[in-house]
């Protein structure tokens, strides 16, 4: 693959500068990397969320490609309509170009309120890429818990307090839920491993049917770490096995990157304010539980990789 400089020269900037996302926001990095995945023209949709509100404050827009925001829970159904219109007009000869379609949603818009629309669009087999930029809570409205918030994190609607250690449930596994739709391509990625991310985006855009990218996307406001440390935080999510870089390519599960030795989960948790309370003596057992969960998830993925390889 070309390096990022070459890619950025080959593919024009699609999300322009001047948007109002925070300095050090993971969303714009993820979006720009994903949009390097195809040279074809792209039409984008975004669910309501930081990405949408910060890039389209009327009368301005940061989007240099056609863009639509409809509502919070319907990015996948909106892109279904656009992609169907494209097929309808293309077969009538009213559109000549090959166009690619992409929908962005946060974890709130994808794991929670938009899950039904996402599932429907995947099942119907529209040819589009769905990107969940997963920052593990409703960050646009001030860090409320979501189905993607990890166990033990303190959020504003599941805060840590005297009687609670923060969120008391483990997150749901959206990538596995999506993979269960048996779409051509699904993957997990994060911004620190840009080569891995762009490669996955290329595969997603090239897929003959729906494709899904679940991108762990740091939010320093909600995760509470110094904004300049974004890449280190992303890297520690990968190196601890908190966010395994996997793909499900036509049913075959695969690790696209494996750290030589997984680091202890504390390395991911420690720098983040949302996990600060876990390091108190009375909460340390929670860290052990998180470690246990990371380990068992890793093992589960290894089994899946092994089993699906045999099937394939």
């Amino acid at each position: 693959m070309a390096n990022i400089k070459e890619l950025s020269e080959k593919i024009p900037e699609r999300l322009g500068p001047g948007h109002r996302l925070c300095a050090g926001c993971g969303a714009s990095i993820a979006v720009r990397q994903v949009l390097m995945g195809t040279e074809d023209p792209v039409v984008a949709v975004s669910a309501t969320g930081c990405l949408e509100v910060a890039t389209t404050i009327y009368p301005y827009t940061a989007w240099k490609i056609p863009f639509m925001h409809n509502a919070f829970e319907n990015a996948a159904s909106t892109i279904s309509g656009i992609e169907s219109a494209y097929r309808a007009l293309k077969k009538q000869g009213k559109i000549k170009k090959n166009i690619k379609f992409i929908a962005f949603g946060g974890d709130g818009g994808s794991y929670d309120i938009g899950l039904q629309a996402l599932s429907g669009a995947l099942e119907r087999g529209h040819k589009f890429v769905y990107v969940c930029y997963d920052n593990e809570a409703y960050m646009n409205t001030g860090s409320q818990r979501s189905g993607a918030t990890p166990y033990g994190a303190s959020t504003t609607t599941a805060p840590a307090g005297k009687a609670s250690p923060g969120k008391v449930q483990f997150r749901k596994d959206l990538t596995a839920i999506v993979a269960a739709h048996r779409i051509p391509y699904a993957a997990q990625a994060t911004i620190s491993n840009w080569n891995d991310l762009v490669t996955k985006s290329q595969k997603a855009f090239a897929a003959e049917g729906p494709a899904f990218l679940n991108i762990l996307t740091m939010c320093h406001r909600g995760w509470r770490y110094p904004q300049e440390n974004i890449v280190q935080i992303a890297k520690s999510a990968v190196d601890t096995g908190f966010w395994p870089l996997i793909e499900v390519d036509k049913g075959t599960w695969r690790f696209t990157y494996k750290p030589k030795e997984r680091k202890p989960i504390e390395e991911f948790l420690k720098p983040q304010g949302r996990f600060k309370h876990l390091f108190k003596e009375e909460n340390k057992h929670i860290i052990a539980e998180i470690q246990k969960e990371v380990d068992s998830n890793w093992q589960r993925l290894e089994h899946l990789c092994e089993a699906s390889c045999k099937v394939a």
Partner: protein, 395 residues
């Protein structure tokens, strides 16, 4: 004109859709709209239309997909009823404020709860402030013709608003009537091609749809939207004229039946007006000066025409097939009373809420309303302003 064929109201809507052959239809089945979706799906399956049909997983996604498709330059339709309309509510508003000319047959059905599948107007009356235009159909022929006309209205460059074509659940949607459809080509010629000004698929001229619109612009956009609905009152008559020229059939915002010398009248929407006409004929045979006024459009609200039609009347009963829980009558009553308020010479008005959840409305009940009106006219006094017709217990 072609020969008469037997069609239900749902089939009439589906037949119009087949002839229009939209680029995209995104729909989810719900009683009593189901037959529209089923019939249209068969047209797609048989290759009779080239439409891309999106069998969405909910009405919310139906309207969401319609918004995406319409903004991409596709002629786009869906259809729904009651709870389905309620589920798509959020996006119904977005479709209108994005000025997307989506056409949606709505088969009126009572909103839950309790759950009920039969006719009343609580679904579309609830959506009256959404910025959609609303046409109400008396019979299956009108359903057929209004669906065709709605495309032209919605897409007119000086309107660009979505349109609901409403008909009464089961009463017309499942009743077989004689309908005279036009030749396919004539319908296609009439609706023409949909040409969007700013398409999402025009990748060389990228546009942003659905931006964040805050205190500094939102109000102006809403003001413009209100103006667009108001302005449609001026533009729609041109489409009536075009329809008449093309098909030889005359339409207007309202229908008057034996109103010219009437002393008393009923105002009713959709199929109830058909029943009331029978009663008017009976009363006229008895020498009573009874009439009927039927608003075809509720949005835009043809205030001037309605007021004009009521000039010189003594008493008018406004029939509402939905409850607004205001304690001040149904939505049609409230709007009619407001419209008449500025008139020095205005008839006495009385409200009848009837037929909720599909409760039958028959000629006997309608006759009793005219009898009440005769008394009101004679005494020049309304004793019971809000009445419930055909209900057990307190009226």
């Amino acid at each position: 004109m072609n020969k008469v064929v037997a069609l239900t109201g749902d089939q009439a809507a589906a037949e119009a859709m087949r002839q229009i052959e939209p680029d995209v239809v995104a729909a989810y089945p719900i009683t009593p709209q189901t037959e529209i979706v089923m019939n249209f799906a068969q047209y797609v399956a048989d290759g009779r239309v080239q439409t891309e049909m999106i069998p969405v997983e909910s009405e919310h996604s139906a309207m969401s997909a319609c918004v995406g498709a319409a903004a991409s330059g596709a002629r786009t339709m869906t259809a729904t009823s009651a709870n389905g309309l309620a589920l798509m509510w959020e996006i119904v508003y977005i479709a209108a404020s994005t000025r997307l000319p989506i056409v949606m047959p709505v088969v009126n059905r009572a909103l839950s709860g309790p759950i009920n599948i039969h006719c009343d107007h609580s679904d579309t009356m609830g959506a009256r402030d959404s910025g959609w235009l609303q046409v109400y159909c008396e019979n299956n022929q009108e359903v057929y013709e209004n669906v065709i006309m709605a495309v032209k209205i919605a897409e007119h460059k000086d309107i660009l608003l979505p349109v609901m074509v409403c008909q009464d659940g089961f009463i017309t949607s499942h009743a077989v009537e004689g309908v005279k459809p036009y030749e396919d080509k004539r319908v296609k010629d009439f609706v023409g091609e949909y040409r969007i000004q700013h398409s999402l698929l025009d990748v060389d001229r990228p546009v942003t749809y659905g931006p964040l619109d805050l205190q500094d612009y939102y109000f102006e956009h809403k003001r413009q939207q209100a103006e667009a609905v108001k302005n449609s009152l001026k533009v729609i008559p041109h489409i009536f004229a075009e329809f008449k020229k093309h098909f030889g059939v005359e339409y207007d915002f309202i229908e008057t039946y034996k109103m010219d010398d009437a002393d008393i009248a009923i105002i009713a929407l959709s199929s109830t007006a058909g029943t009331a006409k029978v009663v008017v004929d009976e009363l006229r045979a008895e020498g009573k000066k009874a009439g009927l006024l039927r608003p075809r459009f509720f949005r835009p609200f043809p205030k001037e025409m309605l007021v004009q039609a009521l000039k010189g009347l003594k008493a008018v009963a406004i029939m509402d097939r939905s409850e607004s829980f205001s304690g001040r009558g149904g939505p049609l009553f409230a709007e009619m009373r407001s419209a008449l308020l500025d008139e020095a010479d205005r008839p006495l008005t009385v409200n009848y809420i009837y037929g909720l959840g599909g409760r039958d409305i028959d000629t006997k009940q309608i006759k009793s309303v005219y009898t009440d009106l005769e008394k009101i006219a004679a005494e020049n006094k309304v004793k019971h302003l809000i009445n419930y017709l055909g209900v057990r217990g307190e009226k």
